[in-house]
Amino acid sequence: MKRILQYIFMISIGFPLVFLLVLSLGRQWPYPSVFPKQMTLANWEFMQESSSKLFQTFFTSLGISLTVAFLVTALCFFVSKRIAYSKNRNTYLVLAYIPYLLSPVILAVIFQYYFNIAQLTGTALGVIIAQFLIAFPFGVIIYLNFWNENLKATEELSYTLGGSTFQTFKKVLFPLSKNAILLCFFQVFLISWFEYGLTNLIGIGKVRTLTVSVFNFVNEANIFYAALACCLLVVPPMILVYINKKFIFFVEKNEA
């Protein structure tokens, strides 16, 4: 029974991925055929065509998401520490949840006016800033539970043992926070990578990320290209899941 459940679980994860791959290779798939009539790499060759810009879109998305994830992970580390040890910790925590109560799209509508004035709409920088504003409170929330009295005491001990602020960060805080840093980086990367509404509004169609492209292909009823874009879309998250499993899960298992 346990094995059957495991297989069901694996199929539920694997089937959509295989389906997307078949769909991206297919052409002419009329109902009720089980498989496409034609299997070809033509859709994938489309990526290389200069007019399609799908490769460019992939790397634009990657650039935006990596930048947002890096900025949020680095800044939230220090900001969350201040908040965690502040007397007003709970107030800041409530404020951090507000973007998620409003939803990113509503926030994007609010941002849009200011982004228009600052001439940031339709630019990659604008999209990065908008996504940063959404992901920043999330980064703070992820880190907040990491800071505790025990860690504070460990940090203070390092100071009294003669460690400078930089030495304490390098030799104590960073090694102890590696898992929290990786977790924050992965989560924020995924938020940015799959972000559609806010990116579409601030990017006004000029900044084409992979997620925006998928929706465009779907709107054009071009399921084969949409599947192709989806295949590209799931590659980075799958790599992240692999790294996460290898470096975080494995380390935690060994420590336990």
Binding site: A153, L157, S158, T160, L161, G162, G163, K171, V172, L176
Partner: protein, 241 residues
């Protein structure tokens, strides 16, 4: 003899609550001062102020005759040890003890020699490559002492370091600390709740009550003080005789 630690008129408040009030304290070189007092009396705050981890509202602190009132903790050469051993979980026993020496960029050969000697002194030879979660509470506390002692601090500030240990381990640790303090000529302020431990560990005793410190010149005057609680304790045990 010049005192190693001299505190003059130190006061500290958190908001409206006065934690320490006009504290004066002196500690002679190579002696241990036991500091007793009830919870919330201000013992930990005083220790943290001496270590530079808290800032006093007023008053001055001298270490070796030098004013350190506004000096950062890393420059005071005073180590504050908590009730928990707080070993660095990502380092093994050897590296935990070597931590302070590595911060000071001690040459590798000298570092290895010093750490090996300390590991041997602590009786932890077979545990040198173990991580902190593989050690018992007493072993962790030994490593914590070794990590502090190896950098030869001017002053050791111990905040109920044996509070989390069972009575047998506690007694062993008291003996170990006394040996270490004697051999390495350590000056220390030792905070404890336990009156017996205060007498065993200290060359002199101070008592904090509601933020005010009374420093007794010797153990006898502490015993004779009616508010010390010692006589009450003696009477309590006498009834079983």
């Amino acid at each position: 003899m010049k005192p190693i630690l001299n505190i003059q008129d130190v006061s500290k408040s958190f908001g409206k609550e006065q934690i320490l009030s006009h504290i004066d304290l002196t500690l002679e070189q190579n002696t241990v001062l036991s500091l007793v007092g009830s919870s919330g009396s201000g013992k930990t705050t005083l220790l943290k102020i001496i270590a530079g981890l808290e800032t006093q509202d007023s008053g001055t602190i001298y270490l070796h005759g030098e004013e350190v009132s506004n000096m950062k903790p890393q420059h005071r050469n005073s180590i504050y040890l908590y009730q928990e051993a707080l070993l660095f979980p990502h380092l093994n026993v050897f590296e935990n003890i070597a931590f302070g020496l590595r911060l000071r960029k001690t040459p590798e050969a000298l570092l290895k020699q010093k750490v090996t000697e300390m590991v041997s002194f602590l009786g932890m030879e077979t545990h040198a490559t173990k991580m902190s979660h593989q050690l018992s509470g007493g072993q962790r506390q030994r490593v914590s002492f070794g990590r502090a002692m190896i950098i030869e601090p001017s002053l050791l500030l111990l905040d109920e370091p044996f509070g989390a240990l069972d009575s047998v381990t506690r007694e062993k640790m008291q003996v170990l600390f006394k040996d270490l303090a004697k051999q390495m000529q350590i000056s220390a302020v030792f905070v404890t709740h336990d009156l017996k431990e205060a007498i065993v560990m200290g060359d002199s005793i101070g008592k904090i009550t509601k933020g005010e410190l009374t420093q007794f010149s010797d153990l006898k005057s502490f015993y004779n003080d009616k508010d010390s609680g010692i006589k009450k304790e003696v009477e309590f045990w006498k009834q079983f005789n």
